[in-house]
């Protein structure tokens, strides 16, 4: 009995969620929404509550989405399982596997030495080097990989920078946030840069029969990665004035550590080669064979060559996140099929019409702010999964480019500089214990503003100039 009370205390948000769902289901359907739509909306509302409050392990929420889609009679079991898995999901899975293989190698130490050889001991130059390398890698593989590899480099630099690391608060913030922000800012660069990008591609294909290739995505958003590198450096160096400006001693320490590893092994080389082959295949042939299949070619090469073992994948892959994305996409499709997504899109358009945000660049601004706010309080992948069907419909209804709306949704969901839970990158550097939550806020809001402004500028001035112009006025 005592155990039962303990259980109730622990699961209070679950009860609240089911109560909320029940209330929505019992309400009469509002004008323009079918009974099926209300059901989809109820699931979405409960899912958002659960994603924000996290009373259950998040994959559980995704599983419940599938279960309730069938139990409430929205779709049949075959359709639900079909909506759970797709080429995009394989692509996310394959990218995570490739990332895991790369993290497992000892590339981080070589990378560290490479950066420092170019930058020298001055702090500003090191910061620019860390941001650039983080950004360039994170534009092709998930940000968590980059942060896992670069964080120890940053920590080693901090640990040997002065007599008492605790006194180097600004330096700690500067170096660790360079890594995290560099990675976050670059996640928009290519479809493999973040699962949220793959989710948007999946919606384009499944909801609107639009095919946007890997290369085309890069044409739209890769320039943004390059432009953000100096912005991140500027914002961080202005916000956190480092206590020391010369890190010669730290670099010597790092050299000693790397020297212990010996020279680069053939294994490390092959890891990089296979990764580059995969990227080239993504760019060249993924149009025909699919991004997911291409990713799996890379994974197969790693497994055949013996660089990766299956055990690494079964232990090191965040299988939960795969389930979360699958559930979110499934719910997105259900919201489209039942008309709930269109209905919500219509309502939102009516709300923003007096503000003049119901079309064109105004609508893109609204989409960006909406996505960014939600991504700040819950996982960015889940945000895109739930929001993109609505934002794409808003674009469709208002005659704005669906591609532009999708790109803005994916990119804005990555702007999670302000909190520690919005993105794995921030969570990871926060877990070092060297940063306070306030540090993220202090520099994060500036980054949010800058990235948002840059994104809208790209949409307004640059996307219309491309081979597949996306005109936004």
């Amino acid at each position: 009995m005592g155990g039962f009370f303990r259980f109730l205390i622990r699961r209070r948000w679950v009860l609240a969620g089911f109560l909320l769902g029940g209330i929505i289901l019992l309400m009469p359907p509002p004008a323009g929404l079918t009974a099926q739509g209300v059901k989809a909306l109820a699931i979405a509302a409960v899912a958002i509550l659960f994603f924000v409050t996290e009373p259950l392990p998040l994959p559980t929420v995704a599983i419940l989405i599938g279960v309730f889609e069938v139990l409430l009679g929205i779709t049949g079991p075959t359709e639900v399982s079909r909506s759970f898995i797709s080429d995009s999901l394989l692509f996310i899975l394959g990218s995570l596997m490739i990332a895991e293989t790369i993290v497992k190698q000892k590339l981080d130490k070589r990378l560290a030495l490479f950066i420092l050889r170019i930058t020298g001991p001055r702090v500003e130059r090191i910061v620019i080097g860390l941001i650039t390398v983080s950004a360039l890698i994170a534009s092709l593989i998930g940000e968590h990989t980059v942060v896992a590899m670069m964080m120890p480099v940053g920590m080693t630099l901090i640990a040997s920078a002065g007599p008492e690391p605790r006194q180097l608060k600004n330096l700690s913030s500067l170096i660790l946030l360079s890594i995290a922000y560099g990675a976050i800012a670059a996640g928009v660069g290519s479809p493999s840069g973040g699962a949220r990008n793959a989710i948007v591609m999946s919606y384009w294909r499944q909801l609107f029969h639009l095919n946007v290739s890997y290369l085309r995505w890069m044409e739209y958003l890769y320039p943004m990665v390059l432009l953000q590198i100096p912005i991140v450096a500027f914002v961080l160096l202005k916000t956190f004035r480092p206590e020391v400006v010369d890190l010669t001693h730290s670099i010597d320490q790092l050299r000693v550590r790397v020297a212990q590893e010996g020279t680069m092994k053939a294994r490390d080389n092959w890891t990089v080669v296979i990764f580059l082959i995969t990227v080239v295949l993504w760019i060249t042939v993924s149009d025909q064979i699919g991004l997911g299949t291409t990713a799996m070619i890379g994974v197969a090469l790693y497994l055949i060559s013996g660089i990766a073992r299956w055990e690494d994948y079964s232990r090191g892959i965040n299988w939960g996140i795969i389930v979360i994305y699958a559930g979110a996409i499934s719910l997105g499709i259900a919201m489209r099929d039942t008309g709930a997504a269109g209905w919500v899109a219509q309502i939102l358009l009516q709300w923003v019409e007096p503000l003049g945000l119901h079309g064109g660049i105004g609508l893109l601004f609204f989409i960006a702010v909406l996505t960014m706010s939600l991504a700040t309080v819950m996982s960015s992948g889940a945000t895109v999964g739930l929001v993109a069907p609505i934002t794409l419909h808003m674009a469709d209804l208002s005659g704005t480019s669906i591609v532009a709306a999708g790109l803005v949704t994916a990119a804005a969901s990555a702007f999670t500089y302000m909190t520690t839970m919005g993105s794995p990158a921030c969570g990871m550097v926060y877990s070092s214990g060297q940063l306070r939550r306030g540090d993220f806020l202090k520099a994060g809001w500036k980054m949010n503003m800058a990235s948002l402004g840059l994104l809208l500028l790209m949409a307004f001035a640059y996307w219309s100039l491309l081979t597949f112009p996306v005109g936004v006025s």
Partner: protein, 314 residues
């Protein structure tokens, strides 16, 4: 005996470990020190694990280890462990994901495998209870901030939840004093008897003075005196001469009043159903919340409980 000591790096938690180390050493106990770090987001734990592994590869400490190292230092000073040198061969610093979603870091010295240091991530009371369930401990020791006027209403809820839901005995150490005056509370029940035996073991090694208290209603003073005689006998068998005391009144109020003049209160986890406790409140929990000294709440481990009920149902 297996003891789980909890730390959060706060002075009062470390005071509690210092207090526990004294009798743990004498009892020849196995000690595990646990630090619980707040988890960021459930969905990202695997990424954090990856980051941690990389940090360990680079020989960098993850946060919280400093608290565990300080706890180890305290145990070493009490003679429970030998000094830990990072460079000493045989010092293992392994990092692994443990069962039930915890993250464990073992920092074990070569010559003192009896002290383990563990780190878990999550909500502190939940993780301590999970660890207690997994490790089959005999006693959980946790510090509490103690009374600070109105604030006592809010602080210490972790300690209270541990006391209420732990599968084993719990020692809530607050306002630790130098003296060694034990107050053992009896109501003649089986759980009180267990408490006397467990408490006597600790009283013995600490060479404490013991007072046995029975709280009675007006009409049942004689029965209370009987209970005291039985308890006195149990203690006498273990070589402890105890004073006895009967008082009339509400148990929780009387015990809280008596606690002012003693240095540790020993009680059995109260009987009665969860529903009764929910509406009337539990006496031990009230003593833990409002009493002025540490409380040792003695509870059977689940295994022995099953055996006991098998015996009772014979």
């Amino acid at each position: 005996m297996k003891i789980l000591m909890c730390t959060d790096g706060q002075p009062f938690a470390e005071e509690a470990i210092r207090f526990g180390a004294k009798f743990a050493h004498q009892l020849d106990a196995d000690v595990t020190v646990l630090y619980v770090r707040a988890r960021e987001s459930g969905g990202d734990s695997i990424y954090l694990t990856t980051a941690r592994k990389k940090m360990t590869e680079w020989n960098l400490d993850i946060p919280g280890i400093e608290y565990l190292k300080r706890a180890k230092q305290i145990l070493t000073e009490a003679g429970l462990a030998s000094p830990l040198h990072e460079t000493e061969t045989g010092v293992r610093k392994t990092f692994r994901e443990s069962t039930e979603g915890g993250v464990e870091l073992h920092l074990i010295g070569r010559r003192d495998e009896r002290v383990r240091l563990k780190l878990r991530e999550g909500e502190s009371a939940e993780e301590i209870l999970t660890e207690a369930g997994l490790g089959r401990y005999d006693l959980i020791l946790t510090g509490s901030r103690g009374h600070q006027g109105f604030a006592s209403y809010f602080v210490g809820s972790t300690a209270l939840r541990i006391a209420e839901f732990a599968p084993c005995s719990v020692l809530i150490a607050k306002n630790i004093r130098k003296g060694r005056n034990f107050l053992m509370c009896t109501d003649g029940s089986g759980s009180a008897e267990k408490a006397e035996i467990f408490g006597a073991q600790i009283a013995q090694v600490l060479k404490a003075r013991v007072t046995i208290l029975s709280v009675a209603e007006e009409a049942s003073v004689d029965a209370a005196k009987d209970q005291l005689r039985r308890a006195e006998m149990i203690l006498a068998q273990m070589g402890i001469q105890a004073k006895v005391k009967v008082r009339v009144g509400r148990p929780s109020e009387v015990i809280i009043d008596e606690a002012k003049d003693h240095d540790i209160v020993v009680m059995g986890a109260s009987g009665g159903s969860a529903v009764r406790r929910f509406f009337l409140g539990s006496v031990p929990l009230k003593v833990i919340e409002y009493g002025a000294c540490p409380v040792l709440l003695v509870r059977d481990k689940p295994v022995t409980k099953r055996r006991a009920s098998a015996r009772a149902g014979r």
